[in-house]
Amino acid sequence: MSNTARANILARLREPQRPECGFSERDYLSRYDWDTAERVRRFTERMVAVRAEVHHTTPETWLDVVSQVCAAKGLNNLLVSPETVLGKQLHAQAERFPTLKTYDHPIESWKQELFYGIDAAFTGTYGGIAETGTLIVMPSADEPRLMSLVPPVHIAVLEVAKLYTTFAEAVQAQGWVQAGMPTNALLISGPSKSADIEQTLAYGVHGPKELVVILV
């Protein structure tokens, strides 16, 4: 069925006189020329506007800030990869954090705990976008897809050096096409939200209720 359908559809699309595109304005380059300070300012402004928490830290202080955030939220546990550069640093000082959990088995073997027993997840990011206040997340075997989705709190570290002006700039500068797309790539711009009831914003619909960004 599918093969006949395919042939029929493609034949119909080839039949008519081919439409001309007629337009050539497909330019995508970044419109802005913001310096680092401006990028950080805009990123923070946009994130805060959608109720994300943003903490400005340094390579010396970021672990302290993560620890303080966990304490302030009263987290019982924190899902952290033991394999990533950042995750290793947390695991090395595990006593300063809530019980550290690891996502080291396929989801099928611990789905119940992930869905109902994990308070928060900590991940790195692939970069950020200043214009829209966005984290670029590319989940991997070390930091799987559901980490930034299922737990009620998501704590993410963004290195300022990877904060781009626009999405278009990030795609180009990081060479997404050349590198090949991963199974899943995400832009995350705040905690989960909906305005489906009376246009009133409500947070934490299906994804995290809280998003905490640690800028380093």
């Binding site: 069925m1 599918s2 359908a5 395919r6 559809i9 493609l10 119909r12 699309l13 008519p16 006189q17 439409p19 001309e20 595109c21 007629g22 337009f23 050539s24 304005e25 497909r26 946009r46 996502y103 080291d104 088995h105 396929p106 989801i107 789905k111 869905f115 214009e131 966005t134 075997a141 799987p144 559901l146 989705l149 299922v150 999405f167 278009a168 795609v171 096409v177 090949g180 797309m181 991963p182 199974t183 899943n184 790539a185 995400l186 995350i188 711009s189 705040g190 989960s192 909906s194 305005a195 489906d196 009831i197 009376e198 246009q199 009133t200 409500a202 619909v205 299906h206 994804g207 995290p208």
Partner: protein
Amino acid sequence: MSSEFRNTVRANLAKPEVRANFYRAMDGLMTRRLDQFPDKAELERLRTQSMAIRANALSKLPELLETLEANLTRNGIQVHWAETTDQANQIVLSILQKHNAKSIIKGKSMVSEEMGLNHFLEALGIEALESDLGEFIIQLDHEAPSHIIMPAIHKNRIQIAKLFHEKFPDIPYTEDVDELTQTARRILRDKFYAAPVGLSGVNFMVAETGTLCLVENEGNGRMSTTAPSVHIAVTGIEKVVESLSDVPPLLSILTRSATGQPITTYFNMISGPRKPGEKDGPEEVHLVLLDNGRSNIYSDPELLATLRCIRCGACINHCPVYVRIGGHSYGTVYPGPIGSILEPQKAGLDVHGELAQASTLCGACSEVCPVRIPIPSILNRLRYDGVRRDTANTNTVGSGKRRTLSEAATWKTWAWAATHPTIYHAGSTLATRFKGMLPTNLGAWTTVRSAPKLAESTLHQQAKNLGVDHE
């Protein structure tokens, strides 16, 4: 004149609560969109760019679909083609049967509405549960979406609170939006946990990389495409773009035009099923490409612009007809201006051709359209196709089927009189002479307006009196 459409419109116009719900929502959406485009010149540049991206994709549609299929297949995504909604439903069913699945959880998908997928599956005893908050609400009430972006926009908080209380009597009654949302979260989380198969729509397909892109705020789209072990995406063949660099401008204009957001919470780019070593994500990803009349629209150089649509809903939000009659009056999957050009072309002018008449041609829709679809021109074209006699010269389904003898005769008589000056002058002079005999009760028109009055003398006569020389 009476028709199902007119009757539904009349019934919906008589519901002040629903009308108030639409007015409040559309006013808010128009304001928020405007706030996103403070620079008018920049907006116009962006619209031209977005139109160019979509027009470019359509100009290479068959090639891009082949490239897309090759890249998706290389990435491990299984591609299925369906000429009709029936075929698309059968493809979904065969995937479910292969996995012995008795339920699916759905992210938001208008193409699945187009397929009537929920009814199709439920008739076979398979549960199809909507997980988008708005879709969840209307599914509880057995309703169809009244808007393509905000499906439950016709309901207010109180109505939703009562509905939740009726369906979930164990949960205390509340009108608090946060609490209602948390109720839905708890119920649906259990469903996400257990669902064997997730189904979603697609906003953009990237041919260059073999990527499916989903735009959403809630996270239900990510859940539906990540937690179950099988993900089925359904979409129309027109949703493809050529390259990844086409995506950022389209995403930006889509979210700003739709809900006045600079970006949505999640932009989800899926390029494959779970790879060896990865610990979550579906083991299988399927894409169902639906034609359902799109290739026919594609065959007409003028109507083709219909397929540029990126489903932002801005035309709906700005339509003076939609805000009054509401989304359910249209009786179609896609309401508002885009629905009034898309649905008659898909179902045929004999079925939904009346929708092309239900417009004042004010042009608000085309003024806000992010891809510059000339909706009023297409409405006019469909009106013409509906009554034209040379139906061999157009591919529009149902061409000529709206032609009636009385209307045709009226226009023919008019054309004859208007091209015969003696007859025309005699007729118009007679009309002014006997204007007192014109009826003052003109049915619906005069229930809220006074009847039109003819002048004392014809325009020709007045011009002559003023000394205008018509030669």
